[in-house]
């Protein structure tokens, strides 16, 4: 099965500044995690998103589009990144998700119904 992991987090969380030893450790954890997903044949895609300040939303009502500045919904936690993974079942998907090197985040694991490029 394929699952999408939505990473909900406070987008103003502090991350170490590039060039510091903390940053190297921080990135090292993520690189190791990604490599683990790739090596296990689980990785199908993923990425970190720009903050919601960069989001543009199109709302379509009865065929008419309204383009507005901002995210899908204004909430304290926002989608900060995502993964698309392959896992044999929900238990494996949950185990892979809990291995993510992130704290104070909400990780939603949702099965993908289908992907046109995987059919």
């Amino acid at each position: 099965m394929e699952y999408m992991i939505f990473i909900g987090e406070n987008e103003y969380r502090e991350t170490p500044a590039p060039g510091t030893p903390d940053f190297d450790a921080y990135m090292g954890d993520w690189t190791a995690y990604n490599q683990k997903l790739i090596d296990g044949g689980h990785y199908l895609g993923g990425g970190r998103l720009q903050p919601t300040g960069s989001a543009t939303t199109i709302r379509r009502v009865s065929g008419a589009d309204t383009v507005t500045d901002g995210p899908f919904a204004e909430t304290k936690e926002q989608i900060g990144g995502y993964y698309i993974i392959s896992a044999s079942d929900l238990d494996e998907a949950l185990a892979l998700t809990s291995a993510m090197p992130i704290d104070n985040a909400t990780l939603e694991v949702r099965p993908i119904s289908f992907r046109p490029d995987a059919m």
């Binding site: 929900l90 998907a93 949702r110």
Partner: protein, 400 residues
Amino acid sequence: MIALLAHRFGDLDLADDAVQDALLEALHWNEIPDNPAAWLYTVARNRAIDRLRREASARRRLLSAAPDLLSQQAQATQPTDPSQQTEEGPAMIVEHSDVGDEHLRLALLCCHPALDRDSQVALTLRLVGGLTTAEIAAAFLLPEPTLAQRIVRAKRKIRDAGIPLTIPAALDERVDALLTVLYLIFNEGYLSRGSTVTVRVDLVDEAVRLTRQALELLPANAEVEGLLALELFTRARSDARIAGGELVLLENQDRTTWNLSEIDAANRILVAALSRMNPGPFQLQAVIAAHHANAPTAADTDWPSIAGAYAQLSAMTASPVVALNRAVAVAMADGPRAGLVLLDAIAGLDDYHLYWAARGELLVRSGDKDAAACAFRRARELATNPAEQRHLDRRILGVG
């Protein structure tokens, strides 16, 4: 008689259990029948048939539920591993020819953390307990469509999210979830016992049956034994809990109506659990229940030991309700003021009627009648069970 039944059914264990059932029923005889042996045999034979029916329906249920749940496992198998794609689904059932293992996997599936608690309860009763949707709905006083929809939704989530029918790696956690569900079912039944609403299924007995079944699947598991002992201690006292439609507090209960053979059975199970030296919250609750059940009179209750067990339980669970019970036990052991000090330190129970009822009782004992009346009135506002409401009305009048 066991041999006779064993021959009739070709199953010694079944015969044994059925005779035990019949003997338990015989304890409730009001008058001795003309031919007790024939009566016992008839009842035992009927209980054996009941048990066989239950088992047969459990197998049917498993077989009807399993293909449903297993077909998605085959689909879920990764395309990168073709060896696993060849009809692995149905084979999984055959490969685990041990029916107990299948039952365990099904029970653990029903309590998967990806399902909400209400769904876990409904699914467990439906798939593991074999109750009909109508029976479960009636037992929980819910409209049948509500419950049916809950079960449909849970099954859909199992299928769509790919919840596996496997023994989980974190087995202990899942067993805890299963025990919590069983205890919820037990309590739901226990609290509604003696109410005017008659239900076709007694959730107390159903929970005990399912807990026994869980113990067969997880033999020598101290917490499963702890839960079973706790349920038996509690059920042994259930007849004394309501008299003439009114709630009777533990201290005022007629202890001669307690079911002594059930208390004995619970004692033995608890001793076995404790001997495994693997303590847990259900064992501690059973220890507390044992102190109550084995006290010949309310005055004989070993409150210091109960307070000690609550202190351990409190450290283990961090639940405000446990802290409340601990405060009451400490009040019994060391006086009402010591209990009130602990009550004051509890946060988060402002809307819990038993918090205010307990506070009222301790205030009465410490001589502060006005404050006690206030607390009882608050409890009365919050209570929803009619028997509890009437009890609180009497307490308000008593101190007024």
